[in-house]
Amino acid sequence: MIYDCAIVGGGPAGMNAAILLAEAGVRVVIMDRAARAGGQVYRSAADSVLPRPEALGLDYTEGVALITAFESCAATHIAAADVWHIGEDGMIFYSLNGTTRQLQAREILLCPGAIERPMPIPGWTLPGVMTAGAAQVMLKSDAVVAEKAIFAGSGPLLYLIVAQYLRLGVKVAGVIDTTPKANYLAALPGGAAALRSWPMLRKGLNLMREISNSGVPVFKAATNLSILGKTAATGLAFECNGAQEIQAETVFLHHGVIPHSNMSRSLGLEHLWNEAQQCWQVKTDSWGQSSIPHIAVAGDGAGIIGADGAQCAGRLAAFNILYRLNVFSLSERDQRAREDQSKLIGMTPFRAFIDRLYQPVEELRLPKDPETLVCRCEEQRLKDLRAGYEAGARDPNALKSLTRCGMGPCQGRQCGPIVSSLLARWRQEPEEAVGYYRLRSPQRLLSLAEFSRFQNNDETGTGAEVSG
């Protein structure tokens, strides 16, 4: 079975693309790890375990309509599929119920979404320290919350989860906002243009107001964060008009999201360093087409644009794929694309404003304390990496070979961006000259027993018979 298009990832970009491609009558398959589609932003939105899902906000509940539209479209949906290999040849291997299945597609659209930017402050790997994204997953998937937790860092997602906690009546020990004063000043010139996206701006301001009216202690422009505790987190120390300490058993950290690039890296697609967002992203044209023409990437996984932007990007990628499949003529593609293109352009000033306002500070992006762990899987500290560099390992892959940093099960998701930037500082060269880890399949741990039963081009084991 050869599909016209395979989509990997069922978030806002993937679902929108699937709907359009299915409408156009091409054979499209979409694989997603979750039981129900939705991605991180609409995780469990269609079958929420929460008594009052509306407490999470309109942005969340609005996802239900998209999920419903997606689930009624003609795309083949393979749920709970763990994709572990995507080949340049269009072959995709994925685990489903403990068995590896495979399918092939002429066009591939990756919608891997975002991951949270690692925040390697001293103690960030202690038990009890989690990310704001983890708090959201716990809330959306299992209706689990952490009482009297600390939220520290910067960025819209941090304020959103705090507001959601407060609406649900969960006590919050404190919000430690690390956004530097200088960022407000630097973002100010873009503020007027951002006013064009007034509803977005108002949503953000409302979140801030909710938090400040709640009576939760808020510390602004905090610096020098470090987790308290030896074997587990007991609180957070920081500076804000002098040294401060807050006790808590749970600390949620967050300072923005970055594209989840393990899929695009494993495929060997070209990547570039986004200076404004201080992160790596896959190189694409305005249709999401990557350095390998039949592979496109859309949504946050191709550069952070948010859920609204991802919906447009998913549709634009689909229009172009339809053109590549000879379903659309060039003019049809361009005409159909106009609305989403202008929507995306409309979002640009607001995105630039947010990017500048919450631009991550180096002090939170890169470790300073030689004892701070960079690679959690292999327990490599800043000082271990520095020693490796001084021994002559100047390339991320050389450093990986020497120190094992990045060799663990997370495939370098956590340490990869840090290592590139550390080497860039030490070599005094830009990140693009330094590069990144060479990644390979499998994209996550793969059972040896499952793999031992794998046969290429197995005619009985294709995903064609599976639908969700």
């Binding site: 390992a393 070979s401 793969l446 793999f451 794998f454 290429n456």
Partner: protein, 371 residues
Amino acid sequence: MNADVMIIGGGIQGCSTAYHLALQGVSAIVIEKDYIARHASGVNAGGVRLLGRDMAEIPMSKASMEMWKTLDETLKFETGFRRRTLVNVAADGADIAMLQSRQTVMQKAGYFHEHLLDQSQLREVLPHVHSSCVGGVTSELDGYALPYQATMAFRQAAMQYGARFVEGEVLSSLRHVGPVWIGRTQTTTYEAGAVINCAGAWGDKVAMRIGDYVPLSFAAPMLMITARLPHFAKPVVGAVSRQLSFKQFENGTVLIGGGAKGYVDRDQNTTRLDYSKLASAAKTAIEFFPIMASASINRMWAGIEGYMPDNLPVIGPAVNAQNAFHAFGFSAHGFQLGPIVGKVLADLVLSGKTDFDLKAFRIDRYERKVL
């Protein structure tokens, strides 16, 4: 830039050669097109194996094994070498017959480092081996090292004695003018009295520039490593006639090889894995060691390796040029030989002589004598 000796290729052979030359006060410069240990030397399975060697390689392999024993102290940098013994498992009577006939040949030649194991001895050293396995053969001297680290140890030791290393420079021309070898890269011209070709899977190209032709082929031996498992096998494990090879490291991860090969694009420095073949290596590993059914694969990869038609390396002087030497085409078992090869090449450069018989490794062994 000038040096006494110019070494092309910064793998373990090149780094070891630089070390042995520098140790004797000879100025050496290593020119590496990527970075040190980027290819086969840095990403191989790390086997330090004497067991089952071709008869022609045994004298050098034995000498190298002696060096591995104390290599960390000699170099003053860690290679990660661990002596663990190596066991090749015999699956059936045919395997045992093969082992017995080799043993006869070995003992006739005066080699006594391989010891046959019967079924109960096999189970004693490998309690988790499948009960149907009938015996095996072992060498107690064998073990493993960490390939990238070991190559870097040679490099760092060589640098302490003054050897120089340039990375990211590709040899674009090599000429012998009078007594001088002139090598050019994209940025620099190097001059040296002698040149040594340690270019691994690219060794045939450098040989051509020196003036020697050699029928080298290349392939991508594939490996996979598991997440940590409880310790179940102390020795390194291979098989007499099956595609089985694995070792469990101190951190519990298990490296599975077996010789299955992927695809190579040598000019692009890239490899592509053949998942069906890797899957069959996974199957064999579980068949021989059922405990591995609970393992999870963390990474899979392949390196680019050069092979000679007889699976023996090229080691020795050039035949069509003066003051030029080769050491490449190790056919996926050169890592263990690294320490001694560096010494042999240093001896050849400095005295024109070596303690070893290099006849089987000469570069012109495939040259057509008659049309």
